[in-house]
């Protein structure tokens, strides 16, 4: 008799405590999830990925043009071939400096040759060669979001 009573009591206790904790748990999880979504970025104010260059503004053969804001160097490889190389270090995102031997990173000492191939330092990958497209109006569109194999030039039609 006393055992049953004790059992009944502990079962009731278990149910009460269990449901109380379950409700708190669900509430907590819901609030946590909502908070996570609240903190998550909704709108991106990031810089645009693509930019345009008029064909008439292209550098002379063998020369380069550096686009500071887009962190891109545009190289005229031959009369009708251009290439765009990103200046964002593949290590931890600093902007590399163009020097005679290629590119050097001021943050952690990554070294690249003139084609952006890693020759020293911690950089894990070649500097990205970027996709170039022809767009109407005699302009080239450079897409900093799309990476090509290194050495891939673009034929100006």
């Amino acid at each position: 008799m006393s055992n049953e009573k004790k059992d009944g009591k502990s079962r009731r206790e278990l149910l009460t405590m269990g449901s109380a904790f379950a409700v708190m748990g669900i509430g907590g999880l819901g609030a946590g999830g909502a908070l996570f979504k609240y903190m998550f970025p909704v709108v991106s104010y990031g810089t645009p990925q693509k930019f345009l260059v008029p064909v008439s503004d292209l550098p002379d053969v063998g020369d380069e043009l550096i686009f500071d804001d887009m962190k891109v160097v545009l190289r005229r490889m031959s009369e009708n071939k251009v290439a765009a190389i990103s200046l964002v270090c593949t290590h931890l995102g600093c902007t590399v400096n163009r020097v005679e031997t290629g590119f050097l990173c001021p943050c952690h000492g990554s070294q690249y040759d003139t084609d952006g191939i890693v020759v020293g330092g911690p950089a894990p990958k070649t500097l990205p060669w970027l996709e170039i497209k022809n767009v109407p109006g005699g302009q080239l569109e450079i897409d900093t979001g799309t990476t090509l194999d290194e050495g891939t030039g673009f034929e100006i039609a």
């Binding site: 104010y45 600093c94 990173c105 001021p106 943050c107």
Partner: protein
Amino acid sequence: MNELIKQAKEFGNKLYYSFFRHRFDNTGLTKSKIMFSNVLLHIQPVKIHKRSVKFKTTMGLGLITFYLFLILSVTGILLMFHYVPSTAIGPDGLPDAYSRMLNLRSNVFWGDFLRNMHRWCAHGMVAFVALHMLRVYLTGAHRGGREFNWVIGCILGLLTVFLSYTGYLLPWDQLAFWGVKVGTEIAKLAPGGALIRGILLGDTDVGAEALIRFYVLHVAVLPAVMGFLIAVHFFRVRKDGGLARPADTSKEKQIPDEEFGDVKNNSVFKTARSYKLVEIVKGNEPKVNEETDQMMFAWPKLIIREIIVLAALLAFMSMISVFFDAPLEGPADPNHPTNPAKAPWYFLGLQELTSYDGFIGGIVIPGILAGGVMFLPYIEIFLETFTRIYRKNIPGVWFARERNLENALFIGMYLFMLALIIIGVYFRGANWAIEYPWVQSVGGGH
């Protein structure tokens, strides 16, 4: 007339006892009352062990760390009156946050001093957290029921570093921008790090949103968490029986009684002292007739020493802040880092490590070090339990012979970090190339 004086005295008495609940005499009862009837003083016990006030016991490192936190809170709140966390370009062509820095430095009365104070105290706090941790480990005070408090201390240390990190973003200068840029790129390398990065930055890249988020973290979220954990940290020290000390201190040389001034015994029981006031805590508490001779009243000896430390610290930090300006680089340029782009000294060890490999140097090694140090007491317990080799730990004693191996390893880790920091500070030049400080670099100098 006499009646009036009597009334005035009575009124004065009533006034006095509404502020204070005690007089200032030499009785043990008063010394106890002073301690436990004051909200600030009651954080400390009424009676402490005599060795607690000795310099070599703690060197005051934890206390100094706490004081620096207080100074940082006060100066930080004052700086908030003049700061705007905005990257919007103002009429002077500079981001608002940055021009507020220039404003603080040149226009605001005392602004330069307060900013210097805040920055140098932040540097000091990182250093003293490290020194305090070293002291605790080398005196074996992380064991004997204090393991969890060590973990809390490590979390406090990480919070200190994270507070520094969020703090140096706020001026929106070159150091700020590229520090956060590189730091969050490292976060990206960690598993799930891209998510954390997104939440920290509030955007795909470092920008206006990141500044607001770091600002809120720096002035509200992190200090609140830190304040709470400091309370827990102190509370546990009290509950663990005060500063760690050996079980038997009767052989130790103590400060002679005369130095503490005499204590008048006005108790009804002439032989009794105020042990009733000592709370029930774990550990080797003063047992009547055993350790009683080594206990002393915290008032006034301990309190005076604490005030001296505070005064000395304030004087020292003020002097530094008057003579040395806190660093401020050029306004943030998202296109070009400075060359070399160096983090503050306490991150240069990490920067040096990441300059060998981003993932191993930025995530793996710091992760192993931070985790290993945080759970060090538990690792020790684990090894002891499963190898059945119990190492004797004498809490509160420097460089205990039994712990030579552990101490050597711990000091070795400190030297390793210190070496990396020294390389980062002095031996890295433009493009992070090795450079010797005693060799004049080409084109350098004037």
